[in-house]
Amino acid sequence: MSEAKGILIVGETIEEKIAPITAELLGCGRKLADELGEPLFGALIGSDVSGIAQELIALGADTVYTADNPILQNYQTDTYTQVMEKMCKDISPRYVLMGQTTIGRDLSPRLAFRLNTGLSTDCVDLKIDPQGKGLLQTRPVYGGNAQAIFAVENKYPQIATIRSKAFSPLAPDTTRQGNVIPVAIEIDTSKVKTKFVRKVKEEVTGVKLEDAKAVVTGGRGIGGPDGFKQLEELAAILGGAVGATRPPCDNAWVPSTWQVGLTGKIVTPELYIAVGVSGASQHLAGCSSAKNIVAINKDPDANIFKEARFGVVGDYKQVLPAFTQKIKSLLDK
């Protein structure tokens, strides 16, 4: 590999549009690229993705490489790793950044091991080491009880995935100029040993959890699916969404897509109401950036009160109905 230069971010799309994480990657990548005085590259992999390359440029990319081919319509480890391996060899970037998403979680380690380089997943901060220009990668560890800074020495590209909502996107600037370069795709099908069969989507009614301005989350303390009906009522009044800790999902009281936390969704609403939630670090990983956390828990020593701004100590069955009623009357006025 020639001398490593520039930063390559791996874009993702959701229903033919740029995924929020892609804008965050470009925001983070642009800053680092300017600091290095090196270019910011974007990669777009998929079918019919070239049309949105210009949007990546508006959001900060200098050059966008597109791997546009029907064979890449659905994410598959073996095809996407081959594409990324080729792009990394062609471009030889200093750093490769991806989102800590269902794709990034799968693709980044596979790519790092194939390229014989180091990777840090789920980073919340990235800095350039003034000596040697290595990437200093900060990531929560031990479920969020601690953070660690990692460095990769003398191996390129240095790869990191970033946590959703940890970095800010730039405001789109449609006057920004950049190049779009299609990459020739040659997939070695003899090395594709997995097959995508189908995707089963869970329908979301109302506001999406990740986008909601208000989130009402229930924990194990809710006790069963019936209690969640009350949380849905409150969420509807607030125009928000319902979330859950892991136990209600594992117990099938609610769909597993409602899980907030380290291995669930990351939410950053204005208002996060945690009901019957103890405040385990792995749960807080998904909600600690909420502007205002409100806790209702019968245990005054519950860890959630260390994170919350406001709290009521009590049984939610007695607290919630009056709370919901009062909120409704305040919002109706």
Partner: protein, 266 residues
């Protein structure tokens, strides 16, 4: 069918956050009093996935764990649940590794075992939360990998896997041998029955050293890391919660709503 499961022992990740302390000078976690080592939760689910495959297809389940001085009662739990064999990679040379050197050692141990159809890992270890070792093993072995599985079936030499997505799941097929990482959506691991516990007590783990898997110590553990830990620290939490009180729960609830309005939160 030959199934291999990789299992890591970690400090109980569900211990109260207040008990968690680090030695910043040494960049190390201070083992908290009363917090015991457990099988990393997703790895216990990987054991469960292996046993379910064995229930349906028959075969043998081999568990591998890398670590020094692993308490035998904990590391033998998969045997008590129904696994057939336990191999421990136990040597100072294996210590202090990262995902890179750990995946390498495990992959070499799996090669040494030789015959396998499915390798199972947890989606991520509950201590460092990296989520890399499974994919790394697959890459070292040159086999397909499917991550974050919630359901696994095997038909005619093909694994059919439901992979968890943020908005549902997808079905992926892989030609065996394949590596699959397991998520909590798979469901509760089974309890070890008394019979299993008694049988496990009698079984002795097989201990392998670097030479047994044909690896030079320089590629293992701390020496073989691809990443360097620069700093380990605990972010400071402010923690000033305003507790709203009332004569009774309903009054406290109403006062909370009013306080939220006052603070312009709603």
């Amino acid at each position: 069918m030959n199934i291999i499961v990789c299992v890591k022992l970690i400090p109980d990740p569900e211990a109260p956050p207040a008990s968690f302390k680090i030695d910043t000078a040494a960049n190390k976690v201070i083992p908290a009093a009363g917090v015991s080592l457990v099988i990393s939760p997703f790895d216990e689910q990987a054991v469960e996935a292996a046993l379910r495959l064995k229930d349906v297809n028959g075969g043998k389940v081999t568990v591998i764990s890398l670590g020094m001085g692993l308490p035998r009662d904990v590391v033998k739990k998969p045997l008590a649940m129904g696994a057939d064999e336990l191999i421990i990679l136990e040597d100072p040379a294996f210590e202090g590794g990262d995902s890179w050197s750990t995946a390498y050692a495990l992959a070499m141990a799996i090669k040494k075992i030789g015959e396998f159809d499915v390798v199972l890992c947890g989606r991520q270890a509950g201590d460092w939360d990296a989520g890399q070792v499974g994919s790394g093993i697959a890459e070292f072995l040159g086999i397909p990998g499917i991550t974050i599985a919630k359901k696994i079936e095997v038909n005619n030499g093909t694994a059919v896997v439901e992979r968890v997505l943020s908005d549902g799941y997808e079905v992926i097929e892989a030609v065996l041998p394949a590596l699959i990482t397991v998520s909590n959506e798979l469901g509760e691991p089974r309890f070890a029955a008394l019979k299993g516990i008694m049988a496990a007590a009698k079984k002795q783990p097989v201990i392998w050293k670097p030479a047994d898997i044909g690896v030079e110590p320089s590629k293992l553990g701390a020496a073989g890391r691809a990443t360097k830990l620069v700093k380990l620290f605990q972010p400071v939490r402010e923690g000033k919660c305003e507790i709203i009180e009332g004569e009774n729960p309903a009054e406290a609830a109403e006062k909370l709503a009013l306080r939220l309005r006052e603070a312009k939160v709603i």
